[in-house]
Each structure stands twice: as C-alpha cells, then as structure tokens.
C-alpha cells in the first residue's frame, strides 16, 4: 500500500467560499505528491471546485491562478513534478493564489 501524506492547501477567497471551507485545508495524498495529485485529491473531496483551478478539458492551470510553496513560484513547472519535502511532510502549505489583476 502506497504511503499517504497530509498535505496542507490554502485556497483563494472565492474558492474557499465555493467549497465552504476555512483558510487552510488538509488533504490525504498518496506518494509521489505533485500538484496534479494534490488537485486530484482536492477535486475528489470538494467536487464543486472541479473546473475552477484547471480547465475541464485540458487539465491545464487557469491562466490567472498561480501555485506557490516554500516561497517558490511553481506555476510554470510541470504539474507532475514532485512537490518540495516541506510540503509533503506538512511543514509548509501549497498555496493556490489568484493573480493580482482586474478591478
């Protein structure tokens, strides 16, 4: 059986409202942990978020959303890359952030 990890995720304001959750949630994610596997777990637990972070068809990140962890911008990295150890062991959260744009 694959080991699982307790992954902390912080969502932007509007997605917290859609899912009716607080500032931070914790997801159980099997190894290896990547942005893709975290989003898979997030959408399975909170299906109302499907399509809001990545496109339904292409599964690509929406252009105005960014992924950060450990003070690094991971948005342009391949989404299947392993996340930093500090995220997989729960010391740091994965941040999903809405780009600062618009009015």
């Amino acid at each position: 059986m694959e080991p699982t990890n307790q992954i902390r995720v912080q969502l932007p304001y509007h997605l917290r409202n859609l899912a009716q959750v607080g500032n931070e949630i914790t997801l159980e994610v099997a190894s290896p942990v990547s942005i893709t596997t975290v989003l898979d777990a997030l959408e399975a637990r909170y299906p109302m978020l499907r399509g809001t972070i990545r496109d339904h068809g292409t599964l690509k990140r929406r252009p105005f959303l960014r992924f950060f962890a450990c003070q690094e911008d991971l948005s342009l990295d391949p989404m299947d890359n392993p996340l930093p150890a500090a995220v997989t062991d729960g010391r740091e959260p994965l941040l999903i952030i809405g780009a600062i744009a618009g009015g």
């Binding site: 109302m48 499907r50 399509g51 809001t52 929406r62 105005f64």
Partner: protein
C-alpha cells in the same frame, strides 16, 4: 395578492428584489456570489422557486448555481457544499461545457472565423444566458461563448451540446463581435416548444423546429452596412429578440443598428425603427398584455454606448414599431451616460404591466404602469448585466 421577484445579475454579484403587486416598496437581498460576474439568472415558469444562475470569473471560470427556494439559498447542482462526495466517479459536473464532436451526434467541428479572418478553435468561455424549459423545471438551455447551445435535463447537473446549431454549414463563417462570439438570446415558442430561436453575435438569428436537432439561419431582410453582401446568410450582429406569447410568430429584434420585426417566425424581417432618434441599442421587450406594444432603449451609437444628449429615455411603440414615443417621466434627463445591456430589460405579468430595466450605472428602474412613470428600485448596484422578473401568485 400577487407579488414580483426581480432577479438582477451584475458584474459583482446577484441581487434579488421583491415587492408586492403595488411595486412601491422593495426588499433587496444580496449580493449573492459576491465578487463574481453574474451574467444571467432566470426562474422556471413551471416551478418559480427553481432559479438558475450563471456565475463566472476571469480567474476561476464558469460555475452554475441553482436555487430551489426562490433565491434564498443556492447550490451547485449535484455537488452541494458541505456534503461528503459519494464514492466513485462524480455523477454531476454542473460547470462542464464540452463541445460535442462525437461522430454519433455531431460533426467533427473544429474552427470558426476569428477577428483576423483566420480559422480559430472553439473555446468555451462562459454562459451568457439560461433559459428554463416551459414544461419541465429540470430542463434548461444555456447559451454560451464561443457560440453554442447546451441543454441539461437533470436540473443543471450535466450539460450536453445541441450540436446541430454549431454544425450548421455556416459555422466556419461565424465570427466574434466586440463582446466575443456569444450566444446570448434563447427564446422558446410557448405554443410549440420544439420551436426555439437563438441569436449570436455576430452570426445572426437561428431557428429550430425540432427541439434543437437542426437549425436554420433566419436573417433575410437584415441589412448590416459592414457586410458587403446585402443577402448575407450570417454575419449579422443581432443584439436581442423578444416575442409575445399570444403571437409567437411575431418577433421583435434589436440589432446592432436597426429595430426589426418579423411576422413569419423569422423567415422575413422588416425594419421598424421609424421615428427613433437612433436605432442602435441592446435590449428590447414586449408588453405582457399588448402584443404590439414594444420597448427599446436607444443608445447614441456603436462608438458611444450611452443615451443621446445624456437623457435616459425608453421608447415605446404601441403599433408594433415605426411610431415611437419617448418615456421620460422619472428617468434622468441630463448628465446620464449609462448603458442598458441586452438582457437587462424585462416585464412582469401583473394586470398593470410593469416594465423593468437595469443600467451599467447600477440603477434598476421599474414602471408599474407600462412605462408612463418610472422610479428607481435601487440606484447603486454594480454594473447591471441582466434583469429578469418573476410574477408570483
């Protein structure tokens, strides 16, 4: 006593305005979905407590919301927040609008004409308009950008494209207007619900007589001076279509320029702009009890989207067009530079028909007497995208 419920979509949320039949005192609830663009909300005529809402965002894409209690509470159909998801694959994906390219039901549709004349892939952006079925509250149609029509038969939980529209041979020649290539108008014939009309900017108007399986362009008589061919089958920027339930073969149209009518279900159109000071505009609607009484809000031009001379005037024709009178009582007659968008006018069905419209300045006006006198219901909402009215028993 009868009452009315006004559903207002704005750039920053939805609002529900309610009043008794006098329409003097109003309760305002909202913002619902605060911070999101609400392109359109509309209630079912079969079950008025059933309301659908299109919630969109440049950041988070499309969300579809539903209320089963007249707008008090909302949820995404099939995936209510706060409940553990059922095991197994999801049964409902209420915001998934995927163009049909299956060999069984659709043609392998690929591209449409883009601004520069090149061919461009169809890309879903948002739902502009929701039109509940006149018979079944669980069936609802969605007009989307890039232009297509979708149908849900399970209360908005899942959507399937009626691909015969986009599969029409003219599809590759459709091109976007300034607001994108959107299907923004869906009108169902109340006497024959297999007959529906849609309007697309900038392709034109289309009609189906078989419940959405096949469609034909109905643009004969439309003249658009930017199109060299006066008989062009598509390419027209239709802004809005309205009909009266008692005369469903008569349609009224606000085109980019020109106000038009047809008396043969769209086969032929005639210009009825008559004495309007300008016939550019977006919205158009018909009095609930007088099928030849029509309302428009003329806008100065396609380059200046505000009323002429800073005076907000609704124009009414009681003769089905050509002869129009300005309605100004209660509306600002100086320094007013708002717009009234295509889905932002509606009528109620009370004995003394009420007319409603919302502006890009955040005002929603009502005339409880067919347009003779107007009063603001609210004056400082975000920019209004849509107004719909429910007349409740």
């Amino acid at each position: 006593m009868s009452s009315v419920r006004v559903l207002v979509g704005t750039h920053k949320g939805a609002f529900v305005l309610t009043s008794d039949g006098k329409r003097n005192k109003w309760d305002v609830s909202g913002p619902h979905f605060a911070g999101w663009e609400i392109y359109h909300l509309k209630g079912s005529t079969v079950d008025p407590n059933r309301i659908y809402a299109s919630q969109t965002s440049g950041w988070f894409g499309q969300v579809l919301q539903r209320s089963d209690d007249g707008g008090k509470t909302w949820h995404q159909p099939g995936v209510p927040a706060g409940q553990e998801p059922a095991p197994g694959p999801p049964q409902a994906v209420p915001n998934k609008f995927v163009y049909d390219q299956s060999p069984e039901t659709g043609k392998p549709l690929t591209t449409h004409q883009f601004y520069d004349g090149s061919q461009h892939p169809w890309e879903f952006k948002r739902v502009w308009h929701l039109e509940p079925c006149l018979k079944n509250p669980d069936t609802v149609f969605a007009g989307v950008e890039d232009a297509a029509i979708f149908r849900s038969t399970d209360g908005g939980e899942n959507w399937h494209e009626l691909s015969g529209l986009r599969g029409h041979p003219t599809g590759p020649f459709w091109s976007p207007g300034a607001g994108g290539m959107c299907l923004h108008t869906i009108v169902i014939d109340p006497k024959n619900t297999d007959r529906m009309y849609v309007a697309i900017s900038a392709a034109g108007a289309f009609r189906t007589d078989d419940g959405g399986q096949t469609w034909k362009p109905i643009n004969k008589g439309l003249y658009s001076k930017y199109i060299p061919d006066p008989n062009a089958e598509v390419g027209h920027c239709v802004h809005r279509i309205a009909l009266h339930p008692s005369k469903p073969d008569t349609l009224f149209m606000q085109k980019h320029w020109d106000v038009m009518r047809t008396d043969d279900a769209g086969d032929n159109w005639t210009k009825i702009s008559g004495n309007l000071p300008t016939d550019f505009g977006f919205c158009i609607d018909v009095h609930a009890h007088e099928p030849e009484t029509v309302y428009v809000v003329p806008i100065k031009s396609d380059s200046e989207h505000f009323p002429m001379d800073g005076a907000l005037r609704v124009f009414r024709s009681k003769s089905g067009g050509n002869e129009w009178e300005a309605l100004t009582n209660g509306l600002p007659q100086k320094d007013c530079y708002v717009n009234v968008l295509r889905d932002a006018m509606a009528v109620d069905k009370l004995d003394d028909c009420g007319i409603y419209f919302g502006t890009t300045g955040g005002q929603v006006y009502v005339s409880p007497n067919g347009g003779d006198k107007w009063q603001p219901i609210v004056e400082n909402l975000p920019s209004v995208l849509s107004v719909e009215v429910q007349t409740l028993a």
